[in-house]
Amino acid sequence: MKNDVEIPYSSILQPVAGNGLLDRRLFLKTGLTFSVVTLAASAIPKVFATNANDQAVDSASPPWMHEPGAPFSIYGTPSKYEDDVVRFPAANRDVGGNGVSWTPLHKLEGIITPGGLHFERHHNGVPQIDPAQHKLLIHGLVRNPSFFSIEDLLRYPMQSRICFVECGGNSNAGWNKSPSKSEAGYFHGLVSCSEWTGVPLATLLNEAGVTAKAKWLIAEGADAFAMNISIPMEKAMQDGMLALYQNGERLRPENGYPLRLILPGWEGVLNVKWLRRLKATDKPIMARNETSRYTELQPDGKARMFTFVMEAKSLITSPSANMFLKQPGLYQITGLAWSGRGKIKKVEISADGGKSWAEAELQEPVLSQSFTRFRIPWQWNGKPAILKSRATDETGYVQPERDKLIAERGRHGFFHYNAIVTWQVDEQGVVNHIYDDKDITESTDDISIDAGWD
């Protein structure tokens, strides 16, 4: 597996950072092909079968070139050979509808998450809502309390925007003392990115006539949890959206069909699904999910509350945990970065555990509060390497190292973990998730810090 492979051009290229990181424009300049990182080596079979005439049917003449293909379909599904590109669900043992499912970020490319792979967080299952019976009530400190049917809302002027939605509890395994062994998406995949289309919340709030006293908006879902939470009026008016469509089609049931809130860049729990009610108030309701949960306990025993913005974060999705580099040579390191405060300004990559860094190419489009795809070429020499990515957003905020985050916040905050992720490539080409801070040497136990998602 470690045979040296001749890489044309690479010998004449100067590395831009330690341990084989090359100029990010390499692929653009030369159009070189590069190795594909695989989860498991799967050689292409030389011979599939023989056809009726006993002619060899091989990769030059595969069977699907000798028979008509499948007929048309009314709604396409992924190839059967992609059946491991799936969400990873985990729920409360007594309540099957209370839990999460992670997006397989390590299996995806680009910045748009397919609708069927968008992460889920439900408190009591996915309601199957008949849109003809669903209504939105806007009331409270408004001059014209009103009901809106879905049919009504579909007639309103709409806008589209691409943005991520990230659960406040995403990546919480990072607080644990030993590194998670899960694939990248099943560790960090409580975040997804879609094109959302719907009615600007401000349009309806203006029609309802929000009074000057109204500083908060209490949103409520029509699920079996009747999930409720308080949203600052300022944010609702600024860029809140009543989303009806996701990636061009109507919302999926598990993403809030027929109506959900989108609050770009703010933690997922505020983006209430199955939205049925918005009550304008002068103060927050202090709901369970803004007091008992989605607050972050600090080392001094105080807890951070109303920590709405998801701070800048990035991770390398390929190569990433449990992947396997078949041989030394040229690889493309790629991954995702995002910030709830705006655009990603730069993503730096290190292949030597943070000793040196090189700037990755940001794939266009680079959008505010959206996934941003980054790429950089890397010449793996077959020796152990430690890969990291570090995002900086347009406000100048830099994604922190893990030890810095823990020094600031302790271990019991559960929510808002956004530290730099470290992947170790060993001599066999196997990629592992590691900590390279003091937990590596100090930790002997295998303690999970907190309970799940009840």
């Binding site: 059946d83 209504k135 009331h139 395994a173 203006n206 108030t281 103060k283 008992s292 951070r304």
Partner: protein, 250 residues
């Protein structure tokens, strides 16, 4: 082609039992009973469908503040006066077709189940811990454990480790800042297999029982719309409002 099944790491990261609980001998809980009562919180979706559509021939123009009756221009002077002191400085969103159907106070009362920390929204009714114990043991114990400890769901009582310790325990008594939150959540979300089926008296009683389990009230103290908001929660001042802090910096 032989495909290997998806590797499942279970439990997944961050999804486990708190270390402190692993040492606790768990009792087998009886499975909850399903569908014992009919829904009392019925939602009448079609109640206003016979109302006439609102009459306002012209939508308000950009920047105009609509005062009453949802039509612009009727009281332009008042509108302009109001505009001088109502601070609505929102970006210009697209103009909508104004299709909302007016909601009557009765309809709103029927829909609105929000309970605020000052007690606004609390319904009539009452209950004590003594009355709440059997209700808890019937509807809640399966997931939350006897006396709020040791279930698969949130621990509700019995915190021994302090919030600033290595294994902090976040229960109602040690963590929750407002007693009204217990009522609001229990009424809307619980019991999890049949949410919205408890009467207001039952919700008051369960709320009282949970406060009693956390040594916050006595077993005969009555919880109602007057008394519940006055309950002083031990961790009432344990929170930092990060949003407010950031706004001040701005």
């Amino acid at each position: 082609m032989i495909r290997t099944p998806l590797k499942i790491n279970f439990p997944p990261p961050g999804w486990g039992t708190p270390a402190r609980m692993q040492a606790v001998e768990r009792r087998r809980m009886p499975k909850p009973r399903v569908g014992v009562k009919s829904l009392i919180r019925e939602i009448n979706f079609s109640s206003n469908e016979t109302l006439p559509p609102p009459s306002h021939p012209l939508p308000p123009r950009e920047g105009e503040v609509v005062v009453e009756g949802r039509g612009p221009g009727k009281n332009l002077l008042l509108v302009l006066l109001l505009f001088t002191f109502i601070n609505i400085s929102y970006a210009n969103p697209p103009q909508g077709p104004n299709l909302g159907q007016s909601a009557t106070p009765e309809e709103i009362a029927h829909w609105d189940i929000s309970v605020m920390p000052d007690g606004e929204g609390l319904p009539e009714g009452k209950g004590t811990a003594l009355a709440g114990k059997p209700i808890y043991e019937k509807h809640c114990v399966a997931c939350h454990g006897p006396e709020g400890v040791g279930g698969s769901a949130d621990a509700l009582a019995g915190a021994k480790m302090a919030l600033n310790s290595d294994y902090p325990e976040q229960t109602i008594g040690s963590y929750w800042p407002y007693a009204t939150t217990i009522f609001d959540m229990t009424r809307r979300s619980m019991p999890i297999i049949a949410p919205g089926t408890l009467t207001n008296n039952e919700v008051y009683a369960v709320t009282a029982y949970l406060l009693y389990l956390n040594n916050i009230i006595g077993e005969n103290d009555e919880m109602n719309a007057e008394t519940l908001p006055k309950v002083q929660m031990p961790n009432r001042d344990g929170f930092i409002n990060v949003y407010e802090q950031e706004n001040k910096k701005k």
